[in-house]
Amino acid sequence: MVSINRLVFALVVVAMASAVLLAELNGITAPKIKASQTAYKLKAVKKVLPPYDNQPAADRRVIPVTGGGPAEAKVEVDDELGKEGVVVYPAYHEGKLVGEAYSVVSHQGFSGDIEILLGVSPEGRVTGVEIITHAETPGLGAKIVSETSWKGKAEFVGRTLSDSLTVKKDGGEIDAIAGATISPRAVCGAVKAGLEAYNQALKGKLPATPPAAPTTTAAAQGAHS
């Protein structure tokens, strides 16, 4: 019979070794993970915004918005800026604000929420839509993610709140997906809610010219370059 001390000793040694190893590895990977996350987000941001010459991730602002309803501008906590609200990524071109991108969540997906990134120009026109997360049926509702499988995704560009923002099946102008009406409809709802949030809360909240001395973190810069 092995004494209890021996058992405890063995487990403690294994646990300590694990802790040390993981702590070391965390030190190595944490900045990389952060950078990957930012780069991932930026990839979508770049797609929905017009050409820009600033760093949207570094220039981002958190604007408090009251949401609610079947679709709403996504309110999140930005750890780095220490604020809660809609995270808006601005795009400046030659010193002028040309667009801003922010996440909108629709709760009307076929299975679970659909989060889209919406790009809007200062006059309230859609500059692009990207699907960030969704749990739609593969091969059916999941077709919303790319233009090749859903033409409707590109059809939002240039529209404003006063334009038709519903799928053809509901009498609108946006292409639907055969067999999956709910998912495109949810995206339409999200775009609409996003534009409404823009008009009500976001418009004019960003500085019209790029911030002179961007307060950036090394990670965000590294990711963008």
Binding site: F110, L140, D170, A178, G179, A180, T181, I182
Partner: protein
């Protein structure tokens, strides 16, 4: 895992040494017949445990059942086979082909209405699906070295039933793949006739519906001429589809008020699957089957009543969001499912009480899938799900053996 076992070789072919073979051969020879016999007894044992002799004698209504179960084993008359099975032994001149072709006759009115409404498109779907089922059955039985029994008509019935649940304008490949799935996955994969736990036609329909939702939910309007094979048919939504659409979009339903009861009853002006539209035609066939004793009233009545009752309950709570019972009864595949699918002898319980529970379960589930599920129609899903619960139902309603008290029996 158990690592010590790995070095020992798995059962290898007999060693090559010349001394042992006679023994091996001697012991191997009787094995196949023994196996065959145990396979034959299995279904009989199943029905016997669920229905002890004493009880069957009490209730005359049940007599029909064991006869059918026995004949399901498909023993050809002139072949001498020794079968060990437990009582009750009932002699009857019912055979599988007789039952199957009677079902075909019963389906005829609904099929004729389908052909009248949807023309050559419907003929195409019927022929293709039935042919695919029969060909798959024959092909697989040949592949597995079994006796080819397509002549018994069970594959034909599966094919017709499947065709009747498909949209009348289903493309040719849906019909062929559907037939292959019904017999391949739904029936032969489980061991052939009487071994399948789920209704083969419905398994196939469910797979088709999940796999190709667009093709399976495109419904042609009836009355577009008979010779409409190469023509682009006009399509629209079914009553249940319309209702679901409206409910999701507006939160209330209005289509119900535009629905005519007569459309549902006669089905001449109704959208839907090939054979589900005419309630009257389905009832005529159902009465024929009932008269011949191939189905009892328990499942159809339990099923339809349950749908009606749950629908009435919800309709009473909020008529603006839930359709009235008549709407639920007269639309969709309710009667096709209740009379011909749920009553499938192989996949439903054997006791009357069990069948009643089975029917009511199907009905409740159908209503809930129709109203709260993501598909507009729930009959096929409901029956397949309750099929899976049949062993549990049988356990629950197992009749008491004469002379035993209840607690000992259960």
């Amino acid at each position: 895992m158990a690592d010590e076992q790995t070095p020992t070789p798995a059962p290898e072919p007999p060693p090559e040494g010349a001394s042992t073979p006679p023994v091996v051969e001697g012991s191997a020879a009787p094995a196949p017949p023994a196996k065959a016999e145990s396979a034959e007894t299995a279904p009989a044992e199943r029905s016997a445990t669920a229905k002890p002799a004493g009880d069957a004698a009490d209730k005359p209504a049940k007599k029909a059942k064991p006869e059918k179960k026995k004949k399901k084993k498909g023993l050809p008359e002139k072949e001498l086979v020794l079968v060990g099975s437990s009582s009750p032994h009932v002699v009857s001149d019912e055979t599988i082909p007789r039952i199957m072709y009677a079902v075909c006759i019963a389906l005829a009115p609904a099929i004729l209405v389908g052909i009248y409404c949807f023309g050559l498109q419907a003929v195409k779907v019927l022929l293709l699906t039935a042919a695919a089922c029969i060909a798959t059955e024959a092909g697989l039985q040949r592949l597995m070295g079994r006796k080819i029994t397509v002549i018994d008509g069970s594959a034909l019935v599966t094919g017709l039933l499947l065709a009747m649940t498909l949209p009348p304008s289903a493309p040719w490949w849906i019909c062929t793949i559907g037939g292959m799935l019904a017999i391949g996955v739904g029936k032969q994969l489980f061991g052939g006739l009487a071994h399948n736990p789920f209704n083969p036609a419905l398994i196939s329909r469910v797979i088709l519906l999940i796999s190709w939702p667009v093709e399976l939910t495109t419904w042609m309007k009836p009355g577009q001429g008979f010779a409409n094979l190469g023509v682009d048919v006009v399509t629209a939504a079914t009553p249940l589809g319309l209702m679901k659409e409206e409910l999701i979009q507006k939160g209330s339903i209005h289509v119900v008020s535009q629905f005519h009861l007569m459309d549902g009853l006669f089905g001449l002006n109704q959208l839907g699957s090939l054979g589900e539209t005419s309630v009257i035609a389905l009832l005529v066939g159902g009465i024929f089957l009932f008269y011949r004793g191939y189905i009892t009233w328990h499942i159809p009545v339990g099923y339809v009543t349950a749908v009606g009752a749950v629908a009435a309950l919800f309709w009473g709570i909020d008529p603006s969001r839930f359709a009235p019972p008549a709407y639920h009864l007269m639309t969709g595949g309710l009667f096709l499912g209740a009379i011909y699918m749920a009553t499938d002898m192989v996949t439903c319980p054997v006791t009357n009480r069990g069948m009643l529970i089975f029917g009511i379960g199907c009905g409740i589930l159908t209503y809930f899938i129709r109203t709260f599920g993501s598909y507009p129609e729930g009959v096929s899903f409901a029956i397949v799900i309750i099929n899976g619960a049949v062993p549990l139902i049988e356990r629950w309603v197992r009749p008491r053996t004469y002379g035993h008290n209840l607690s000992a029996a259960s």
